[in-house]
């Protein structure tokens, strides 16, 4: 799985960090998403999929192999 984020449109809701803190973080100053791991290991795929689903700005994109 490859993860990408469109940080320009992130609304800093932090839902992704709550679900998959190994993969996402937020910038300290404005809360905008920071991608920590572009190709997370398989046990993280479910929480990452869930993040993509609930992200209120729909800016988490997944390419599943």
């Amino acid at each position: 799985m490859r993860v990408s984020v469109d940080a320009d449109k992130c609304v800093a809701a932090g839902q992704c960090v709550l679900l998959a803190p190994e993969v996402f973080d937020q910038r300290e100053e404005d809360g905008v998403v920071v991608l920590l791991d572009e190709s997370p290991s398989p046990e993280l795929h479910d929480p990452v999929r869930e993040s993509a689903l609930v992200c209120p700005a729909a800016v988490i994109h997944l390419a599943e192999s």
Binding site: V11, A13, L53
Partner: protein
């Protein structure tokens, strides 16, 4: 294989459909939506769409390729008109009947209107993309906009219009604007911010009439008889749940579709998003939440419960919302409505300053609202709310910190 019908093709409905597929559901899913547009996002309508930072074509919740991949029977532009829960049948307005094994109700809410203002040009409400485009069209420098109702939608529009050079007046019937759900301290902070930007704020006033001149709005009459001149009026006085189509179904409707802690409303029927009034066991409150993230999260939870009823789980989230006004982002976790106390922990009153307020209900912490707080600080508060932390424990911590 279960046949699932989802009524309402916006955030909640689409999230449910998507979560069903992600969970491996291969049976038919029909997604019915009253609006003809492909599912789109609403929060930008009172923000970037008005300021022109985002066009109407940049609001799609998912790309058409992503939607195609869900393999849905997509029926847009046709509202559901009735429901027979005995026969498990949804009746569409065009006469078509859809059989289902499981039904998801995600019909959301619409903007409440002022009675008798229907045909007057220049009177707006804001819920759909066409509402937003109609309003945007009118926001020109030097024009006068009166916003009736200082809730979050009204306040966001006031901020966006102010930035476009429009003369804005924000009217609120309560003594403190913006305070309805979030308390007086937050209300005062936000009101001060609007004033600093030059928005006129009138609290404790009631509108008695929309004044018109040949079918075009010319002002707003207040209780004391005075008329506030206006080129446009935005009515932002809350919302009404879209439940009329359920009226004869036998399901319990009470300003929303009444659901249990599993988001179930009846045999084979679930509620999702703004329309659902469900029991949240984390707060032991039956709540209806009009927040963007809640609609998606509830869609996910319902998809799981619907597919695996044996392992169903209560939907017990800490609600979250944000609001963008000027260069400030307001963020809140928890259930702030009906709080008993709002305690201000940090407050700088300058424009775009900082604010941190925590909320108590009975003897526990139920919410936090912040402006300018770091994500880590907010998440720590969220964890305390999720843990049903006692208020006294919170106070001890705060003093110790």
């Amino acid at each position: 294989m279960k046949r699932v019908v989802v009524v309402g093709a916006s955030t909640g409905g689409l999230a449910t459909a998507e979560a069903l597929r992600r969970a491996g559901h291969e049976g038919p899913i029909t997604l019915v939506g009253a609006e003809p547009a492909m599912p789109y996002d609403r929060p930008p309508l009172s923000k970037q769409v008005l300021t022109g930072q985002r066009g109407p074509n940049e609001l799609a919740l998912r790309s058409s390729a992503e939607i195609d991949a869900l393999d849905l029977d997509l029926r847009l532009g046709v509202p559901a008109a009735g429901l027979d829960i005995g026969r498990r049948e949804v009746l569409l307005e065009d006469g078509i009947r859809l059989d289902y094994d499981e039904l998801v109700v995600a019909t959301g809410v619409r903007a409440r209107r002022l009675p008798g203002t229907g045909g007057i040009a220049g009177v707006h409400t804001l819920r759909t993309v066409s509402d937003a485009l109609a309003l945007k069209e009118r926001l020109r420098p030097g024009r006068r906009l009166v916003v009736v109702g200082a809730g979050f939608v009204g306040a966001e529009v006031a901020a966006a219009a102010n930035g476009l050079g429009v003369h804005v007046t924000l009217l609120e019937s309560a003594p403190v604007p913006l305070a309805a759900a979030v308390g007086d301290a937050t209300g005062r902070f936000l009101a001060a911010m609007h004033r600093d930007h030059g928005v006129g704020i009138r609290a404790d006033v009631r509108v008695t009439e929309i004044v018109q001149d040949g079918g075009q709005v010319s002002g707003v009459r207040l209780e004391d008889g005075s008329v506030l001149p206006a080129d446009d009026v935005l009515v932002a006085i809350g919302s009404v749940a879209n439940t009329e189509w359920l009226a004869d179904s036998g399901l319990a409707v009470q300003e929303g579709l009444v659901c249990d802690e599993y988001s179930a409303a009846g045999p084979g029927v679930y509620g999702v998003g703004d329309v659902a009034r469900w029991h949240n066991p984390l707060f032991d409150v039956t709540m209806r939440i009009e927040h963007r993230t809640n609609a998606a999260e509830q869609g996910l939870a319902v998809a799981r419960n619907l597919l695996c009823p044996e392992t169903r789980r209560p939907f017990a989230p800490v609600p979250y919302f944000w609001s963008d006004q000027y260069d400030v982002k307001v963020q809140a976790y928890g259930y702030l409505r009906d709080h008993d106390e709002a305690l201000v922990l940090d407050n700088t009153t300058s424009a775009s300053g900082r604010l941190l307020v925590i909320y108590r209900k009975a003897d526990r912490l139920v919410g936090v609202l912040a402006v300018g707080a770091s994500p880590k600080v907010l998440r720590a508060w969220r964890a305390l709310i999720a843990g049903s932390t006692a208020w006294t424990a919170v106070l001890n911590r705060t003093i110790a910190a």
